[in-house]
C-alpha cells in the first residue's frame, strides 16, 4: 500500500512509523485501529517466543526440572506491546515495572534472554532474580527498574505510588507501570493506588494495568464483581481510563500507546483494563493443561497476519520452530548450572551498614 493510500486519519501512524525507521508500506487493521506491518511482525515474533518459553516452562514443572509453574499464556499481546513501549533503564528517568506473575512476554520484549527465566524455574544459584528462591516469573532486575515481584496479590499497586512520586519530581517522562489481575482488584490496595495517584495537585504518573482473564483461580469474576468494567472505577477519581480487547494486538498496542502518551505527558495516572485469555488454567496447581474455549491470541494474530498477506505460513512455522528451539536450548543450559549451597541461605538479608555493631555486612544468624 503506497503512502498516499493511507487514510488521512492514520497519517500520524505513518509519521510514527517513519520515526521507527519502518518503511510504511503495509498495515494491519483491527478493532478500529491500524498498525504497521513491521511492528506487527515484531510483536508476533515476540508473542511466539513468549508462548514457546511458557510451554517449555510448563514442561519443566511436569518433568521435575522445576516445581511450580505460573505464567501468562493468553496474555502475550498485552505483555509484548507493553514491553516494547517501556522506557528501559535504571532510575527515575526510566519506567518502573511493578508486575505480578504473568509477565514473561513483557520481559522478553524488553530483551531478557530466555535463560534468565529458565534459571528461576530451575532454581539455580545463577538465577538473577532470586538465586533460586522465588517462583518462576518473580522477576527482579534493577538495571531495568523491574522491582521484585512478590506473590502477595496487589501490593505492587501501592509501591507504584512511591516510584511515580520520584519520577514526577525528576521531571522525566518515566511512568510507573503496575500490572495485576482482575480478582486482585478486590483488595483495598487497588483502591489505595487510585486515591494516592490522584491526590489533587499531587497526581503521579502511574499506569494501572488490569489484565482481566475473568477468573481468580477458580472463581469467575462475574460471580464476585458488579463493575461492568473494572476501569470504570477510575472515573470518580478523575483518573482517565480505557478498556481493550487484549486478544487483539493491534488494538492493544494503540490503547497502551495512548495510555503511555497520557502518563508521560500529563504526569497523571491512567487505568487500562485488557480482556485476556487464560489458556493453561491458573497455575501448575490446577494442572497447567491447555484449556478449551478460550480464544488464543497468538493464533488469532497469526491468522490475521497471514490473512492480510504480511506473514507466510512457512515463515510462521519457522518462527515457531526457532522459538521452541531457543526455549529448549535455554532449558538445557540451566540444567547443569550450579545450585545454591547451604551457605547461601542467609545471603542478601541485609545490606552492609556503617552503624550496625552486629551486622556490619550481611546477616549471620542471631546476634552473638
Amino acid at each position: 500500500m503506497p503512502a498516499s493510500d493511507i487514510p488521512p486519519n492514520h497519517r500520524d501512524d505513518e509519521e510514527r512509523s517513519v520515526a521507527y525507521g519502518v518503511k510504511p508500506s503495509r498495515f494491519v487493521e483491527s478493532g478500529g485501529e491500524i498498525l504497521d506491518a513491521e511492528r506487527c511482525l515484531e510483536i508476533y515474533r515476540l508473542m511466539v517466543r513468549t508462548r514457546a518459553l511458557e510451554e517449555r516452562t510448563i514442561k519443566m514443572s511436569k518433568s521435575g526440572e522445576g516445581y511450580f509453574w505460573v505464567g501468562g499464556p493468553g496474555e502475550e499481546a498485552v505483555n509484548v506491546c507493553l514491553g516494547l513501549m517501556i522506557k528501559k533503564g535504571q532510575g527515575p528517568a526510566f519506567d518502573y515495572l511493578h508486575l505480578h506473575y504473568r509477565n514473561a512476554g513483557l520481559l522478553l520484549a524488553m530483551g531478557m534472554p530466555m535463560v534468565d527465566h529458565m534459571r528461576q524455574m530451575a532454581m539455580t544459584a545463577t538465577d538473577r532474580h532470586s538465586m533460586g528462591r522465588n517462583f518462576v516469573g518473580h522477576y527482579a532486575i534493577a538495571a531495568w527498574n523491574v522491582v521484585p515481584v512478590t506473590s502477595v496479590i496487589e501490593v505492587q499497586y501501592t509501591m507504584a505510588i512511591g516510584t511515580a512520586m520520584v519520577q514526577k519530581r525528576f521531571e522525566s517522562d518515566g511512568v510507573s507501570v503496575a500490572v495485576g489481575g482482575d480478582a486482585g482488584t478486590a483488595q483495598g490496595d487497588f483502591s489505595s493506588c487510585m486515591i494516592w495517584a490522584s491526590r489533587p495537585g499531587q497526581e503521579v504518573p502511574v499506569l494501572m494495568l488490569v489484565t482481566n482473564n475473568g477468573y481468580g483461580i477458580s472463581t469467575p469474576a462475574h460471580t464476585q464483581h458488579s463493575e461492568e468494567h473494572i476501569s470504570d472505577r477510575a472515573t470518580p477519581f478523575g483518573i482517565r481510563s480505557d478498556n481493550v480487547n487484549g486478544n487483539d494486538p493491534v488494538a492493544t498496542w494503540r490503547a497502551l500507546e495512548r495510555a503511555f502518551n497520557y502518563c508521560r505527558r500529563s504526569r497523571r495516572p491512567y487505568m487500562l483494563e485488557a480482556a485476556v485469555s487464560r489458556l493453561h488454567g491458573h497455575s501448575s496447581s490446577s494442572g497447567a493443561a491447555r484449556v478449551g474455549g478460550e480464544p488464543d491470541v497468538v493464533k488469532i494474530f497469526e491468522d490475521q497476519l497471514i490473512g492480510s498477506g504480511i506473514l507466510h505460513r512457512e515463515l510462521a512455522e519457522m518462527i515457531r520452530h526457532d522459538a521452541a528451539e531457543e526455549a529448549d536450548a535455554a532449558a538445557e543450559q540451566v540444567a547443569t548450572e550450579p545450585r545454591p549451597l547451604p551457605s547461601d541461605v542467609e545471603k542478601h538479608t541485609y545490606a552492609p551498614s556503617p552503624v550496625d555493631a552486629i551486622y556490619p555486612d550481611d546477616y549471620t544468624g542471631l546476634p552473638r
Binding site: M131, N134, I153, A186, G188, G216, S218, T223, P340
Partner: protein, 352 residues
C-alpha cells in the same frame, strides 16, 4: 482412614448438618474447586468470596454478630498478615463490650512449609496467632484430631483458629473418625470430587458422629522417663518417629506431647512431664525470634527451673526473611529430622 484434609471436610459436613454452621467461605472455597486443598468440596454452605482477606474476616465477624455461625478459610497463612488488626478486633470485641456480644467465628488456614511452596506458601503462623488474646488456637497433627478440633472450634462460642499443617493435609490418619467407613477407597469415592466436570457431582456423606478434642488438652503420644518433647502440627510426627528411633537405637524413652491446642495449652500435662523428666525439648518450624515455643520455654523455666536437670532445647526455624524454593533453603532453615534427632540425643544424654 481419612486424610487430614478429608477429616476437616467431614467435620465441616458434620458442622453444617448438626452444629449449626451456616457459612463456609473464602477464596475458591465454594464450587467448583472446593478449596485449593479440597477442604471444602461438596459442602452445602460453602461459597466463594472476592479476593479480599479483610472482607472475609469482616464478613465473618458480621455474620457472627447477626447470629450466624461462620467458618472461613484464609487460603494460605502467608496471606493472613494484611488483616491482623481485624483478628485483634475479633479477639477483643467481647472484652471491649463487657460481654455484650460474642464472636463465634472459626478461621481455618493452611500453614507451614513442606510443599515446595517457596517464599509465600511456607510461612508459619502460630507465633502470630498465639499473640491474639481472646482467641483459641489449635493445630492438629493427624486426621482424627483435626476432626475433633474442628468440631470443638465450631461449638466454642469464641473466635477459634485452626492451623492446618499444609504438608500433612494428604496424610492418612491411623484412627477412624466415628462413623467413617473403614475402607479409605470407599471414603474417597464418596466424598472426593471427581477430576474434571463436577457440576453434577454430589458427595455421599458417611454418617460421621460427634467427637470433640477439647481445647487445652494435649495428647501424650509416647511415654518415657528420660525427656519431654513438646511439639504440634507438621513436626509432631517427626518427633514421634525420632523418639521411636532413639528407643530402638539407644534405649532412650521419652514423653512426646502433641499440644494440639496451642492456646490454651495443656499446662497440667506439660508440667507433669517436665517434673518427671527434667529434660525438655520444644520443636516447631516457625521462625525463632519471638516464637511461641519460647513462650512455652518461659513458662517451664519460670515454674520448673529447679526441676530442670539439663539445659532445655528449642528446635525452631531460622530467623530468615523467607523459605526459598530450592530445597537447599528449606532444609537449612526449617528443622529436619536429623536436627531433631541430634538435639534429642544430646538432651537425653547431657550429664545432669
Amino acid at each position: 482412614m481419612a486424610t487430614l484434609v478429608q477429616a476437616v471436610r467431614l467435620a465441616l459436613h458434620y458442622g453444617e448438618t448438626h452444629l449449626g454452621v451456616t457459612d463456609i467461605f473464602g477464596e475458591d472455597v465454594g464450587p467448583p474447586l472446593g478449596g485449593v486443598f479440597t477442604a471444602t468440596q461438596g459442602l452445602k454452605t460453602a461459597w466463594n468470596t472476592p479476593l479480599d482477606e479483610r472482607g472475609i474476616v469482616g464478613a465473618a465477624m458480621g455474620l457472627a454478630l447477626a447470629g450466624a455461625k461462620p467458618v472461613f478459610e484464609i487460603q494460605f497463612c502467608d496471606y493472613a498478615f494484611n488483616m491482623i488488626d481485624m483478628l485483634k478486633v475479633a479477639g477483643n470485641l467481647r472484652w471491649s463490650s463487657a460481654g455484650a456480644y460474642e464472636m463465634p467465628i472459626v478461621m481455618m488456614v493452611p500453614t507451614g512449609a513442606g510443599i515446595r511452596g517457596s517464599i509465600y506458601h511456607s510461612h508459619s503462623y502460630e507465633s502470630q496467632a498465639t499473640r491474639l488474646a481472646g482467641w483459641k488456637i489449635a493445630m492438629p497433627s493427624d486426621a482424627l484430631d483435626a476432626y475433633g478440633l474442628m468440631l470443638s472450634a465450631i461449638v466454642d462460642p469464641n473466635p477459634v483458629m485452626v492451623l492446618l499443617p499444609k504438608a500433612l493435609l494428604r496424610v492418612k490418619g491411623d484412627k477412624l473418625i466415628p462413623g467413617e467407613p473403614s475402607d479409605p477407597a470407599e471414603l474417597s469415592r464418596r466424598i472426593d470430587a471427581p477430576v474434571g466436570d463436577r457440576s453434577n457431582w454430589q458427595p455421599d456423606w458417611p454418617d460421621v458422629r460427634e467427637y470433640f478434642v477439647p481445647f487445652g488438652s494435649g495428647e501424650l503420644m509416647r511415654e518415657g522417663p528420660t525427656a519431654t518433647v513438646l511439639s504440634y502440627g507438621r513436626l509432631l510426627p517427626v518427633c514421634v518417629q525420632v523418639a521411636d528411633e532413639l528407643r530402638q537405637s539407644h534405649g532412650i524413652e521419652c514423653d512426646v506431647i502433641d499440644l494440639r491446642s496451642l492456646f490454651p495449652y495443656d499446662w497440667p500435662m506439660i508440667a507433669r512431664s517436665v517434673r518427671k523428666t527434667g529434660r525438655v525439648m520444644i520443636v516447631n518450624e516457625d521462625t525463632e525470634v519471638t516464637n511461641f515455643g519460647e513462650h512455652l520455654l518461659r513458662r517451664i523455666v519460670e515454674e520448673h527451673f529447679y526441676d530442670l536437670l539439663v539445659r532445655p532445647r528449642l528446635v525452631q526455624g531460622k530467623h530468615l526473611p523467607g523459605i526459598g524454593l530450592n530445597p537447599v533453603y528449606e532444609s537449612n532453615s526449617v528443622p529436619q529430622p536429623d536436627h531433631i534427632r541430634s538435639a534429642l540425643l544430646a538432651l537425653a544424654t547431657d550429664p545432669a
